[in-house]
């Protein structure tokens, strides 16, 4: 029996791990309710808040776009970063470690599969939200916006890989950290408001630090760039979209490389401390 090695093995592993995610999106349709209708309702709450505050119409668009992009952050947090924790609970982590394909291959498959799932959700939220609230996007720079989106995804899922390697060592702390990161990142990424207003609202002494922390989450600058491109003239961005694209490309390289190194280190540490099969901890 021929067995692949090298790149072919890597790709087989990635395809195989992504498969359950893609299939799950089509077989188990309850996500239509839980991952579209409900986020749409939450997004609507923020839309009505802006209406109550008599905000400009563009802010409704910001919220809808922010709600769609939040799907990706939640996917990275719950189905990448802490996924190895869930797999450990299910006894699957041991099987992944024992297999000759690398964990990066497994994570890549998770990432691509998760991206597919999230795109279905985000697309539905964006389309339905836009129709419900009559959001007008400017499509003149759609190509650039798409490029920004793709680079953002590479950086974001690279961050997911990096976080998953850290979570390899944890038990219930992994779940608690994921829970703790959820809303703070929504805040730091300007999910519901222009990011530049966040930086302007903090004391000058803290602006640099807040900008740095915020920029480290790819969703922040990615969302800001996309808002500048899809709602031109209606938002003051943090940086020029090209600068933000460059930052995210750099982040993508950094996160993926760091994830590779961290994964090896954490896998070794987990083996030394016998955490790979430690459950209910």
């Amino acid at each position: 029996m021929r067995k692949s090695v090298g790149l072919e093995l890597f790709l087989r592993g990635a395809v195989a791990r992504g498969y359950p995610r893609v299939i799950g999106a089509h077989r188990e349709l309850s996500w239509l309710f839980f991952d579209i209708v409900i986020p749409l309702i939450s997004t609507s709450a923020f839309v009505f808040l802006y209406k109550a505050l008599n905000a400009p119409a563009a802010y409704v668009g910001f919220v809808v776009l922010g709600g769609a992009m939040a799907t990706y952050w939640l996917n990275v947090l719950w189905m990448m970063a802490s996924q190895l924790y869930w797999d450990k609970q299910a006894g699957l982590l041991e099987i992944y470690i024992m297999a000759p394909t690398s964990l990066m291959s497994i994570l890549l498959g998770m990432g691509v599969g998760g991206l597919y799932m999230s795109t279905l959700r985000a697309g539905a939220i964006a389309v339905v939200g836009s129709l419900l609230f009559n959001v007008q996007f400017d499509a003149s720079q759609w190509g650039f916006a798409l490029l920004v989106f793709l680079v953002t995804m590479v950086a974001l899922y690279g961050l997911g890989m990096l976080l998953s390697s850290a979570f390899l060592m944890w038990g219930r702390e992994a779940w608690q950290v994921s829970l703790a990161l959820q809303e703070p990142v929504f805040f730091l990424s300007g999910q519901n408001f222009p990011l530049s207003r966040l930086f302007n609202s903090v004391p000058a002494l803290m602006q640099g630090a807040v900008t740095f922390v915020s920029a480290a989450v790819p969703v922040s600058l990615g969302l800001d760039a996309m808002r500048q491109l899809l709602f031109p003239g209606q938002i003051v961005g943090v940086f020029d979209p090209w600068v933000e694209l460059g930052i995210m490309a750099a982040l993508g390289v950094i996160f993926v490389t760091a994830a590779y190194l961290m994964l090896k280190r954490m896998e070794w540490l987990a083996k030394v401390e016998a955490r790979l099969s430690l459950r209910w901890q």
């Binding site: 093995l9 087989r12 195989a16």
Partner: protein
């Protein structure tokens, strides 16, 4: 060299040394027996320590409570030859799973070395993974949203198996474990036993060179367990270049399947030999019970004088019609002279039974308790 294991669980250094010597001798015998075959698994002085976290109440009492260390494996030396079905027996917490986890690259040893097919499990982990697989009994791994076939296909891809080969192997394995009608069923709809059978397939579809089975029949019904055992045996006989290491709590399973067995407790290998030799440790001379009619004093005298007979104890039964004869023989082959002597003196054999210690007797003697941990059994024996 024979070794007296009567004080095997006495806890003395002398006893430990005697056991270590016995293991060394047994390994040397195995080396001779399997001369020409490479070693599939080899550990040398393998050690694994765990640090026990101090309890919160201890932390409150002391500023810096001493860290406790638990020794899971203590200088384990195991040699398994290619083509062997090697068994690992031991009570819960003995170190069996720790040993398997180290050999399957899931756990790092604290000391010593472990080689699988000549490859270091620590330094050459990736190479080792291409050659091995593991099935843990009681595990029901898999994604419920996928079908049986899809789950097995997914796992096969992690080993780089082509789609055509994977599909063929999956269908073959499903047929063997009698799950072919569940090929397209969602895993979430399977019963526990069916999921375990699927898990069993997962291990073998990658055609590993060294296979680790950690209690593979745990929770399976009698029929499914028999399928698993039969397949395990036939897989090895059809593939003599493969090796299998099995842990089990079922003595009969170990006795039936294993070429050699290592008995492990508190991280130490207490004995390592064929099941027959292990039983001989307890009882060097075979004993037989024969119920026979037409026995006279002359018959008993003739039996005592028969070649190979060490001792005969004749007891008339309650009805006085037959006698119960207990024989201690020098060798099993002496039973032939016993039977012929009885026939020559017009004795009629009603029943004949060979008595020998079971593997469980050996286990209790060595470990000091049964697999259920009842120390009184050791005292009674």
């Amino acid at each position: 060299m024979s070794v007296n294991i009567d004080n095997a669980n006495a806890g003395s250094t002398v006893a430990d040394q005697a056991l270590e010597e016995a293991v060394r001798v047994a390994n040397a015998d195995a080396a001779l027996r399997y001369a020409g075959r490479p070693l599939a698994i080899q550990t040398e002085n393998l050690t694994r320590l765990y640090k026990i976290r101090a309890e919160k109440k201890d932390k409150k009492k002391n500023d810096s409570p001493p860290a406790r260390t638990m020794i899971a494996l203590d200088g384990v030396n195991v040699e398994v030859y290619q083509g062997e079905l090697f068994g690992l027996l031991g009570p819960n917490g003995a170190g069996k799973t720790t040993l398997i986890k180290i050999l399957t690259t899931l756990l790092a040893p604290s000391g010593g070395t472990a080689l699988v097919d000549g490859l270091d499990v620590v330094k050459q982990a990736q190479d080792v993974r291409r050659l091995i697989n593991m099935v843990s009994g009681g595990e029901t791994s898999g994604y419920g949203i996928l079908t049986v076939h899809e789950n097995l296909w997914m796992f096969s891809q992690f080993y780089g198996i082509t789609w055509r080969d994977a599909n063929a192997r999956i269908d073959e394995m499903l047929r063997i474990v009698e799950l072919e009608d569940k090929r397209n069923a969602l895993v979430s709809s399977l019963s526990t036993g069916q999921r375990q059978r699927m898990n069993f397939c997962r291990g073998f579809i990658t055609d590993p060179k060294v296979m680790f089975l950690d209690e593979p029949t745990l929770g399976l019904d009698v029929h499914a367990a028999r399928i698993v055992r039969n397949f395990t045996r036939s897989w090895l006989s059809e593939n003599p270049d493969r090796t299998l290491l099995l842990t089990t709590h079922y003595m009969a399973e170990a006795d039936e399947l294993c070429d050699r067995i290592a008995i492990i407790d508190h991280g130490k290998v207490l004995a390592c030999d064929t099941p027959a030799n292990l039983k001989h440790l307890l009882q060097k001379q075979p004993t037989f019970d024969i119920s026979a009619a037409g026995i006279t004093d002359k018959t008993v005298a003739a039996l005592e004088a028969a070649p190979g007979v060490v001792r005969v104890i004749a007891t008339p039964d309650e009805g006085g019609i037959s006698h119960n004869l207990k024989f201690i023989l020098e060798d099993e082959s002496a039973i032939g002279s016993v039977v012929s002597t009885l026939a020559a003196h017009n004795g009629r054999i009603l029943t004949l039974q060979k008595n020998e210690p079971t593997l469980e007797d050996v286990f209790i003697k060595l470990v000091g308790r049964s697999l259920t941990g009842d120390a009184s059994e050791a005292a009674a024996s």
